[in-house]
């Protein structure tokens, strides 16, 4: 973690705050699911916290993201209110989408979370459109498309990179390579040694970075965002990481290499970054403990808010299908 030109202490701690929010949120979510208080499909992002946390500190609310079903970390890092996230996952009217979208379709335009898709590979074409609007209007907004390593084998990935390159769209493609596409190990499904190598086919920058190293991720993301913002076009970032909870909650991980997950968990990016912050004098044990406690309280309040919120009225089945209600 010895990068040149360290970001400010505020930014360093802000990255940790976002990572901690994601980690604690995940831990609480697993506990609540296990207790049967909420029933919902859950694709845990645990282990991938550093990627969107280190990236999002270089974005504003005016910038857009499109993310995927494994995207709670991306949403929280971008600023989706925790209580609205929980209420949505609990299927309540107070959720981001009034309980009509669920965990795979969280949307919160105020924080720039424009689309969450449950379809592998579909965040990229839409991120291009967000970027296109910004380009045509002469706005300085940037769109970020998050996706996994499996999505780089889908046609939409290639169509999107090509179009973004041809039009120099202000978009950053962020592949979170966690080593597995569903149950299939990277090498079995993907011909390229590195996903970033695929950028060469579209003559755009492609960078592989340790996505679990917040500083490395911060610098790579910042450069790509600045490039997009200044009109130079898209970048493909491959952020290497690992998921701690398998593909979906309840997944037994039988397809993983022996010891692989244990080794990755031993290198958990959140405590590692915490240790570094304190050792380097960027934060104190007491200040981080206080921050963690505040996040814990925020999540507790969010869970309570979600579980005490009303469920949608049946009439919602007819609303938001079209602009005007259509009876059928």
């Amino acid at each position: 973690m010895n990068q040149p030109a360290l970001p400010s202490r505020e930014i360093l701690v802000d990255i940790y705050r976002r990572m901690t929010l994601i980690k604690q949120n995940d831990e609480r979510f697993l506990a609540v699911i296990k207790a049967g208080q909420i029933v919902a499909p859950y694709y845990s992002p645990r282990g991938q916290e550093a990627i969107p946390s280190a990236l999002s500190v270089s974005l504003t609310d005016q910038d857009y993201i499109c993310t995927i079903y494994r995207g709670f970390h991306d949403m929280l890092a971008k600023g989706v209110p925790v209580r609205m996230l929980w209420a949505e996952v609990a299927g309540r009217t107070t959720g981001t989408c009034k309980g009509k979208g669920g965990p795979m379709h969280i949307t919160h335009p105020q924080s720039g979370v424009m689309v969450t898709t449950g379809i592998v590979g579909s965040s990229m074409p839409i991120a291009n459109g967000l970027a296109l609007a910004a380009q045509i209007r002469g706005e300085k907004r940037v769109a970020v498309a998050y996706f996994g390593d499996g999505a780089s084998n889908i046609g939409a990935f290639h169509e999107s990179l090509n179009m973004a390159a041809v039009w120099k769209l202000p978009v950053v493609f962020v592949c979170q390579n966690n080593g597995y596409g569903e149950h299939t190990r990277y090498e079995i499904a993907t011909s390229a040694a590195r996903i970033s190598d695929r950028a060469a086919g579209y003559q755009i920058p492609g960078i592989t970075v340790d996505g679990n190293d917040p500083l490395a991720m911060y610098h790579v993301a910042r450069q790509a965002i600045e490039r997009a913002r200044s009109g130079e076009g898209p970048t493909l970032i491959e952020a290497k990481t690992f998921r701690f909870q398998g593909h979906v909650f309840g997944d037994a991980d039988s397809y993983m290499l022996k010891g692989e997950k244990e080794a990755a968990m031993a290198r958990d990016p959140v405590p590692a970054y915490r240790k570094w912050l304190i050792e380097q004098g960027h934060a104190t044990e007491a200040s981080l403990a206080k921050l963690e406690e505040a996040i814990n309280a925020e999540i507790s309040a969010a869970v309570e808010f979600a579980l005490s919120s009303p469920v949608p009225d049946i009439s919602e089945l007819r609303r938001d299908v079209f602009a005007q209600e259509v009876l059928s």
Partner: protein, 334 residues
């Protein structure tokens, strides 16, 4: 009177009508942009020239020829629409929508609902199709039933140049995604001019020819054949009412039921294959509401359950011919 108005005062064809509508929309709203393969003037303004002159007039930032990448085209339109633009994306041929189905069905149609109404996708997807040019099984299908079966997307199919103009304007300025189906073989047929700037409301059928003995429901190319058959039968004293749906989804069942309650006979005609088609949905609705009042079973005329064939003799017989429409009406009138 400006140039566009002068042009609309004389008969025009559907290519010119859609071009005028796009021109009008782009002139009045800077959020209207066009995306599609070959649509800019450097690429000849589209393969039949529907978008001719528009990139010269509005620039290639707003009128963009795209790579041959249907998913990326619709994705770009969706993203831009979410943040307030009104993109018109051309998918050259209706069969090519199959390549972009994920973007159209899983995203454009559903984002309003899945986001709880926070986002919506006011895109118009222009596409052309229709048998008659010997293009075989992958260039001429009518696939509207796929989309009409999907909640959240409107499906529009004009039957004349003037309707194409008014419905296109309505689609562009509608706040929901619209699929706009243009019939290719009749593109060059002239028709009366539309009223400049006037939108035709979506979701409302047009009583094209009033009648009392039988209701004929159709849309797109086959409307003209239905009117011709109705005229022919009128010489025998049969009064056929012809309804042009204009919009397939949302379906204007009120107008259909009002007509059939009066005539007590109905035939539905479309170029798409009959099986599992729009006609089945309409027939089922008529039966649900007017069972016992009908004088004959609801008739349906559609294409054979086959891919669009190549050989001229097969292609001609594949689509609903005037003879088959006439036979269906006569069977209902027995």
């Amino acid at each position: 009177m400006n140039a566009a108005q002068a042009q609309t005062s004389k008969p025009l064809n559907t290519i010119q009508a859609v071009n005028l509508a796009l021109d009008e929309a782009m002139r009045t709203d800077p959020n209207v942009i066009l995306l599609g393969e070959d649509i800019a003037d450097e690429q000849a303004g589209g393969i039949v020239g529907v978008t001719k002159g528009l990139s010269q007039k509005y620039g290639t930032s707003r009128v963009r020829s795209t790579p041959i990448s249907e998913q990326a085209i619709i994705g770009a339109a969706i993203g831009a629409a979410i943040v307030g633009m009104r993109p018109v994306a051309e998918i050259m041929l209706m069969n090519f929508t199959a390549v972009a189905m994920d973007m159209i069905v899983n995203h454009a149609a559903k984002l309003r609902f899945m986001s709880g109404g926070q986002t919506h996708v006011p895109i118009t997807i222009r596409t052309m199709t229709g048998a008659g040019f010997g293009t075989g099984g992958q260039h001429a299908d009518y696939l509207e039933a796929w989309f009409a079966h999907t909640p959240g997307i409107k499906v529009v199919a004009p039957s004349s140049p003037a309707d194409a103009y008014g419905l296109m304007l309505a689609c562009i300025f509608d706040d929901d995604p619209c699929l706009f189906i243009e019939n290719m073989p009749t593109y060059w047929n002239p028709g009366p001019a539309p009223q400049p700037g006037v939108r035709i409301p979506l979701g409302r059928a047009n009583v094209l020819r009033p009648g009392t003995d039988v209701t004929v429901v159709s849309y797109s190319r086959t409307v003209a054949d239905c009117v011709a058959v109705a005229e022919k039968l009128s010489k025998e004293g049969v009064s056929a009412e012809v309804l042009d749906l204009r919009t397939i989804s949302p379906l204007d069942m009120d107008t259909v039921l009002q007509s059939v309650a009066k005539t007590r006979r109905a035939v539905i005609v479309h170029e798409a294959v009959k099986a599992f088609g729009v006609g089945a949905e309409i027939a089922a609705n008529i039966n649900e509401h007017l069972f016992g009042q009908l004088k004959a079973p609801v008739g349906r005329v559609g294409a054979y359950f086959s891919p669009v064939p190549f050989a001229k003799v097969l292609e001609t017989e594949f689509v609903p011919t005037p003879a088959r429409i006439e036979a269906a009406l006569r069977a209902t009138l027995k």
